[in-house]
């Protein structure tokens, strides 16, 4: 089991899971909590978008097949919105759609079923990359 890396006293990074399957939700909550993350859920793409705007999660873990707004459309909307574009998006789906996820602007793709080590390590690595990018922003080249 991957141990938590976030101190219990520190503010825990929020993961928004967009998922309809109650079994996947239950397991995602358990393993992400175990790894030290706070977890929120949305059952469809539209409510997920509202949550993103309201709660500014560090990362969205979304299935593609969700109602109202599919996971890829959600990803495009987040990445197209300058206020949200920094939000990391991990597409975690039953569909073999890594190419489509990349085209939608997702930061990473994982295929189901849920293997906690793969999921937790991917989430951690994505957040570490984001942290690193914030700490060492690239200078724009001048012409």
């Amino acid at each position: 089991m991957t141990g938590p890396t976030v101190s219990p006293d520190a503010e825990r990074a929020l993961v928004l899971v967009v998922e309809r399957d109650p079994h996947v939700r239950d397991l995602e909550r358990f393993f992400l909590n175990e790894a030290g993350f706070a977890v929120d859920f949305a059952e469809d793409g539209l409510s997920a978008l509202e949550t993103v705007q309201a709660r500014k999660p560090a990362i969205i873990v979304t299935e593609i097949i969700v109602p109202k707004l599919d996971g890829l459309a959600l990803c495009r909307k987040v990445k197209d919105d300058p206020a949200l574009a920094n939000t990391v998006v991990l597409v975690f789906s039953i569909l073999a759609a890594q190419g489509r996820a990349r085209d939608a602007g997702a930061d990473a793709f994982l295929m189901k079923p849920l293997a906690e080590r793969r999921l937790v390590e991917t989430v951690k690595a994505l957040l570490a990359n984001r942290q690193s990018a914030r700490s060492h922003p690239r200078k724009e080249s001048s012409r």
């Binding site: 089991m1 399957d21 109650p22 079994h23 996947v24 239950d26 397991l27 358990f30 393993f31 073999a96 759609a97 890594q98 190419g99 489509r100 990349r102 997702a106 930061d107 990473a108 793709f109 994982l110 295929m111 189901k112 079923p113 849920l114 293997a115 906690e116 080590r117 793969r118 390590e121 991917t122 690595a125 994505l126």
Partner: protein, 471 residues
Amino acid sequence: MTGRTDHASERDSDAVDFPRISTGNREADMILHGGFPCNSINIVMGQPGTGKTIFAEQLLFHNAGKERPLVYLTTLSEPLSKVVSYAQRMSFFDVDAIGTSVIYEDLGSELAAEGIDAIVPRIVGIIKQLSPAIIVIDSFKAVHDLARSTQEMRRLVSELAGVLSAYDVTTFLLGEYTHDHIQTYPEFAVADSIVQLERDALGVRDERYFRVLKLRGSGYHEGQHAFRIEDNGLHIFPRLVTPSFRSYAPVLERTTSGIEGLDTLMGGGLWRGSTTLLVGPTGSGKSTMGLQFALEGRRYGAPALFVNFQENPSQVQRMVRALGVDPIQAASEGFHHLYTSPVELQIDSIIVDIFRHIEAKGVRRVVVDAVGDLVTAASNPRRLHDFMYSLVQHFVVRNVTSLLNFESINGITGSDDTQQRWSYMSDNVIILGRAETGGAERSLRVIKTRNSDHDPSAHRIEILGTGVRVL
């Protein structure tokens, strides 16, 4: 990023490779085209004593020692202590793996106390606590006995399938199911594969069969595959099927029979890759001619396989010596002997054994002495015929020249379907019998040669110390 499908490593294609879990049994993997799909729900069904538990345990111990543990759950059909006790007697059992890589647990007491509602929370708990890669539930059918209604069982199966599909775990549900249950029990609807183990009583022995009834998203080797249970698990004999002739290049060459005077009657010898049926009564010289044919291969450096079911290895050695050949030297020169007692004869296994010997030893000549023993042993003559037909076609593709001895007093008669079938699949048919002049004299007659002239008249033969000679 090290995820298997992260962006850094992907290309334009969204195609994915769906991994499989090996059964730990080479032949079963071959039948399943590589094993069971990962993250699948699989049913292993069969009556008590058919080998379900051994099959599942062989699979578990083969996959043990990897990153995640494997869990074996017993329910109400057999106590956990008994399952573990018997598992220890199998050679694949690894005591060091118990409690770490392979975890045995009992579900029976919770089931008895709480009913079937205990299962899903327990499985979820096991997933959260142990992160298992494989879960075996033995017996899942026994759970039906605790369900108060069909609806309750359906709800359980639906919930369980949901949990097991959500997580990266491969599940095996073992049970004493019959074919009727396939239509009525809900677990069969959610199963990604169904493997059946059967056992048929045949006289004083049993014949066991391994059969895949369903394998979603994959081809598999259809039909019944015979197996035996041995100390190291299931020993399966995949059903022999007719080979592909796409890359077959016929060899138009004759080879000598090793029987003096016979080649002349058959247009100059046997075509390489041909099959000859040698028919005759007891004592007519069939076995001697078979040995002569097999031993003749030594002259060409052609390994030969003499398959028989009556004379034991010592007797065959004496027969070889009687022909003036040292059996030890003959063995070193490529003469191989495969003996199976007619009491233990199971046609599937013997035919697969023949095929394996041919492949392993590069055999060019085969004698089966006698196919009548196979016919007697076969519980299903049609199955035997299909197997032998496939075997003969493999001979053709490999240019293996074969001689099949067949015991019959009256030669080939049109009224005997079995004889007719053997005759049709053979390129040449030779009949041994009494000379037409009567008395003790023996005769030989070539009644059929495919793609060759032959002398159809009856010829006297002698059985001498050096073998059979056609006069």
